[in-house]
C-alpha cells in the first residue's frame, strides 16, 4: 500500500516555480529519501504535505485516499507528522509542554501535567528516546531536542513521519542513535520520509529515493539499484567529485597558539576548560566536535567577542588575549562567523556597505569623519566581481541575496583584508553543493597562500575533506588530534563522545 502519493504537484511563488509537477510515492513502512540540493524544492513539497502551503496544481493521496490538506491540523488528523530541521521548540517550555502544545490533556480545564508527563515518558520508553519529560528545552542538547521533535509527532499518533535534514546538526554518535530510532519506528509500523542531501545516509538506511532538482521531479529509484555517484549526478545534474583537490600542506611557523584557555558561556559556566592549541601558517586545522562543546566560545574568545578568564591567546608571538575585537582584527585575524545573519552581516545595509564592516573608518573609505562612498563602492564592486557574488548591484540590501551569495560576500570581505589567521566557522552551513565547492576552493587557496586557518564545522565530512589536522573538541578541551588521512570515523566518533584514543598526531 502507498502511504503517500503526491501527483503533479505545482507550487508557484512570485518569480519562482518552487515545485513543477513533482511526484512522490512512499510505500507503507519504508524509509523513503527525498533528495535534492538546497533550494531544489524539497521543503516546499513537504510543507504542502504538511498543510502549511496549498498546491496550485496536483493531487495528494494518503493511504490511497484522495485528500486535501488545508492545514497542519488536517495533516495531523491524517497521521502526518514533521520533524523540522529548524526545531520548532519553545525554549522556555519543558519537554512535555512542547509535546502537548496544541492538544493538551485537560482536567477541569486545567492542563493535566502529570498525565501528560506519564504519557510522554511511556512513548519515549517505547521507542527508546530517553528524554526527560520535565527538562526545559533550553537546557538539553541538540540531539535531545530533536528527539523531542520526534516525540511531538508520535504523541499525536503520527504514522507518516517527515524528517527534514535531521542529521545536519548531529554528531556521528548521535546520528547512529537516530538511525536506531528510525529503525525502531519502522519496526513499529511507521513510514518515514527522510529529507537529505547526504548520500551516505541514504545508502545506509533508506529503501527508496525520490530526487528533485530545481523544483522538477527527476526520478524515483530503489536504493538497492543505485549507488552514491549516480544519486549525486541525478541530484546535481552533472558528475560530482567527492574529494577536494588539494596538495599536501606545507606548514611553516606557528601563527596562533592558545594555552590553557578558559571561557565562560552566556550562563556563566566554563564552556572552554583549559584548552591548548597551535595553528601554523599554511595549514588548515579542523575543529570537530558535537555542537555545544565550547566551539563557539573558543572562537568568540579568539576574536575578542567573549573574554577569557584564564589562559593566553598568542598571535604571531604577541598576546591578543582579551583585546577588543577591533584590535584583534587589526592584528590580522579574519573571521567567517558561524551565524552569518546574526554576526556576519547587517542585513539591512546594502551589500556594498557590508563590505567595509570593519574598515569603514579607515583610509581610503573614510577621510576623517566622513565616509568616502565612491571608494567604498569601488572596493565593493571589485570584491563582488572577484568572488563572484551574484547580486543585482552593490546597493542591494544584503537581506535580498541568497545564502550562498551572502556567504561569498563575507568570505570576500574577510579574505581580502589579508589576515594571517582566518577562522571559518560552519562556512557552508545551509548552502548548496555548487556553493560549497566554491567556498572549499577558496579556503584551500588561502591555505596555499600561507595563511593559518581554523575550520570549525559540525559536518564531520567537511572537516575531513579540508583539514590537514583535526582537533576534536570535547567539553571545552581538545580531546585529541587526528590525521584525516589515517583516521577512521570510529576513532573520531569516540573522541567526540569523550572517549580516549591512543594515536596522537604530532604537530
Amino acid at each position: 500500500m502507498n502511504a503517500v502519493e503526491m501527483k503533479g504537484i505545482t507550487k508557484r511563488f512570485p518569480g519562482i516555480v518552487a515545485n513543477d509537477r513533482v511526484n512522490l510515492t512512499v510505500k507503507q513502512g519504508e524509509i523513503h529519501a527525498l533528495l535534492g540540493e538546497n533550494g531544489a524544492g524539497k521543503s516546499t513539497l513537504m510543507n504542502i504535505l504538511f498543510g502549511l502551503y496549498q498546491p496550485d496544481e496536483g493531487e495528494i493521496f494518503i493511504r490511497e485516499k484522495k485528500t486535501e490538506i488545508t492545514g497542519p491540523n488536517i495533516a495531523g488528523e491524517l497521521g502526518i507528522g514533521m520533524v523540522h530541521q529548524h526545531f520548532m521548540l519553545v525554549d522556555p517550555f519543558t519537554v512535555t509542554e512542547n509535546i502537548i502544545l496544541g492538544s493538551e490533556p485537560t482536567q477541569n480545564g486545567m492542563i493535566d501535567q502529570r498525565k501528560a508527563e506519564k504519557e510522554v515518558q511511556a512513548i519515549s520508553d517505547r521507542y527508546g528516546l530517553k528524554v526527560d519529560p520535565r527538562a526545559k528545552i533550553r537546557d538539553i542538547s541538540v540531539g535531545m531536542q530533536q528527539r523531542v521533535e520526534i516525540l511531538k509527532t508520535l504523541y499525536r499518533g503520527a504514522d507518516i513521519l517527515i524528517f527534514d535534514e535531521p542529521t545536519a546538526v548531529l554528531a556521528p554518535k548521535e546520528i547512529d542513535e537516530l538511525i536506531v530510532i528510525m529503525e525502531n519506528l519502522v519496526k513499529e509500523g511507521k513510514t518515514i520520509i527522510f529529507i537529505t542531501h547526504k548520500l551516505k545516509e541514504i545508502m545506509r538506511i533508506c529503501d527508496a529515493v525520490t530526487i528533485i532538482r530545481q523544483g522538477k521531479f527527476i526520478g524515483r529509484v530503489d536504493v538497492a539499484d543505485t549507488d552514491e555517484s549516480r544519486l549525486a549526478s541525478m541530484m546535481v545534474g552533472r558528475d560530482v567529485s567527492f574529494t577536494v583537490d588539494k596538495k599536501p600542506a606545507q606548514p611553516k611557523e606557528t601563527v596562533l597558539s592558545i594555552r590553557n584557555l578558559r571561557v565562560k558561556n552566556s550562563r556563566g559556566v566554563d564552556a572552554v576548560r583549559g584548552l591548548d592549541m597551535e595553528i601554523k601558517a599554511g595549514e588548515i586545522v579542523g575543529l570537530a566536535g558535537v555542537d555545544g562543546n565550547g566551539q563557539s566560545e573558543l572562537i568568540e574568545a579568539i576574536t575578542g567577542l567573549k573574554s577569557a578568564h584564564k589562559g593566553e591567546i598568542v598571535l604571531n608571538g604577541k598576546a591578543i588575549t582579551n583585546l577588543k575585537p577591533k584590535a584583534i582584527t587589526h592584528r590580522g585575524v579574519g573571521h567567517i562567523p558561524e551565524d552569518r545573519h546574526r554576526r556576519g552581516l547587517v542585513l539591512d545595509f546594502s551589500i556594498g556597505e557590508n563590505m567595509v564592516l570593519q574598515t569603514f573608518d579607515q583610509k581610503p573609505f573614510a577621510k576623517g569623519w566622513t565616509l568616502q562612498y565612491p571608494q567604498i563602492f569601488k572596493h565593493a564592486k571589485r570584491l563582488i566581481k572577484e568572488f563572484d557574488v551574484r547580486t543585482p548591484d552593490i546597493h542591494t540590501p544584503a537581506r535580498a541575496l541568497s545564502g550562498g551569495n551572502q556567504q561569498k560576500g563575507i568570505i570576500a570581505r574577510e579574505v581580502d583584508r589579508d589576515p594571517d589567521f582566518l577562522i571559518a566557522a560552519q562556512p557552508t552551513r545551509g548552502l548548496d553543493v555548487g556553493a560549497i565547492e566554491g567556498i572549499h576552493r577558496r579556503l584551500i587557496e588561502q591555505r596555499d597562500k600561507g595563511k593559518a586557518i581554523l575550520l570549525m564545522s559540525l559536518e564531520l565530512e567537511e572537516v575531513w575533506q579540508l583539514a590537514d589536522r583535526i582537533a576534536v573538541i570535547y567539553e571545552g578541551k581538545i580531546a585529541g588530534w587526528v590525521d584525516p588521512a589515517t583516521t577512521t570515523e570510529e576513532e573520531i566518533g569516540l573522541l567526540m563522545a569523550g572517549g580516549q584514543v591512543g594515536t596522537e598526531v604530532s604537530s
Binding site: 511563488f13 518569480g15 567577542l305 547587517v346 556597505e353
Partner: protein
Amino acid sequence: MQVLSKINKQSSIFTSLVSVFLGLLVGGVMMILAGYNPIQAYIALFQSAFLQPFDIGETIRTITPLILTGLAVGLAFRTGLFNIGVEGQFIIGQLAAVIVALKLDLPPVIHAIVAVIAGALGGALWAFLPGYLKAKRGVHEVITTIMLNFIALYLSNLTVREWLTDGADKTKEIPESASLHWNMLSQLFDSSRVHFGIFIAIVAAFFMYYLLWKTTTGYQLRAVGYNPHASEYAGMNVSRNIVLSMMISGVFAGLAGASELLGTAGYQAIQASYTGIGFDGIAVSLLGGNSPLGIVLSASLFGILTYGGSNMEYVAAVPREVIRVVFAAIIFFVAANIVRWVAQRRKKKVIDKGGEGK
C-alpha cells in the same frame, strides 16, 4: 523593539499623501456624524494656518519644536532605541537654557548661542542616563525614560520656584541678549513669534542626514541599530553607540526645549503637566518614516493641523480633539501601509517573497 526601518522603505510620498487624505476623511466623517460641518471646519483650519502672514509665522513657530522632537525620536529609532523620554529632555533643555539666560551676563548673540548649547547639553545629559543604563545594565530604556520624564517635570518646577525665583510661578523674562527672537523675521510675518529656532531645526535635520549617512559615526549608529551582534563582531563598541545615540537624540530634544524657551516663551513657568511636544514628536517621527526630510514634512503637517485646529474650534465650533483622531488615523494608514495593501489585493495572491528567509 526592532528598528522601524520597514515603514521607511515602504512608505513613499504617495502612500503618505493618500494616508493624509484618508485621515482627513475619517475626521470629516466624525464631524458629520456629530452634526458639524466638515467643509466649513477644514476651511477654517487651513485658512487660519495660511491666510495671513501672522498666522503663517505662528504656524512655522508651532512646527519648529515638532521638527526637533521628531528628529530626536527618529534618530533613536534609527539606532534601535525607543526614546519616550523626549518630553523630559525637552523640559531639561528649557531649564538649562533659562538658567544660562538668566544667570549669565553675556553679550548679545553669544549669550543666545551659549544658552542654546546649554539646552542641547541639558537634553543630552538627561538622555545619557537611560542610554547608559540600557548599555551597561540592560535596563529597558522605555521604563527609564518614562520615569525621567516625571522627574524632569518636578525638577524644573523645583528649580524655578526655589532657585530661579523667590517662590514665584515663573521666572523673569529672559534678557534680549539671550533671545532667539529676530525682529526682521518677526516683522516679515506681521510680528508673529516665528524665531531663529526654525533655522536651528532645519540645520538639525540636515545634520541628522549628514551624520547618519555620511559619517563613520553614523555608519556605526545605523549598524548597531540594525544588528548589534554584527556590529560587535565588526569591532564596534555597541554600548558606546547606544549611549551616543541616546545623547544625540537628547541634543535634538534639548534644542527643541531651548528654542521654545528662548524663542517663543521667554520664561520658564511652573508646569502643571507636560507640554506634549515631546510625545507629539513620536507621532511626527513615525509618520515621517524616521527620515529627516519625512520628519520635516510630517512636523509641518502636524503643526498646520495643530495651529489650525484652534481656529477650527473657534469658527466651526468643532472640538479640536478631532485633529488627534485625524492624526491617529493617518498614522494607522501609513503604518498598515494601506496603499500597498490595496495594490496587493488587486494583484491577488502576490506574496512578498522578500519577507521570507529570516
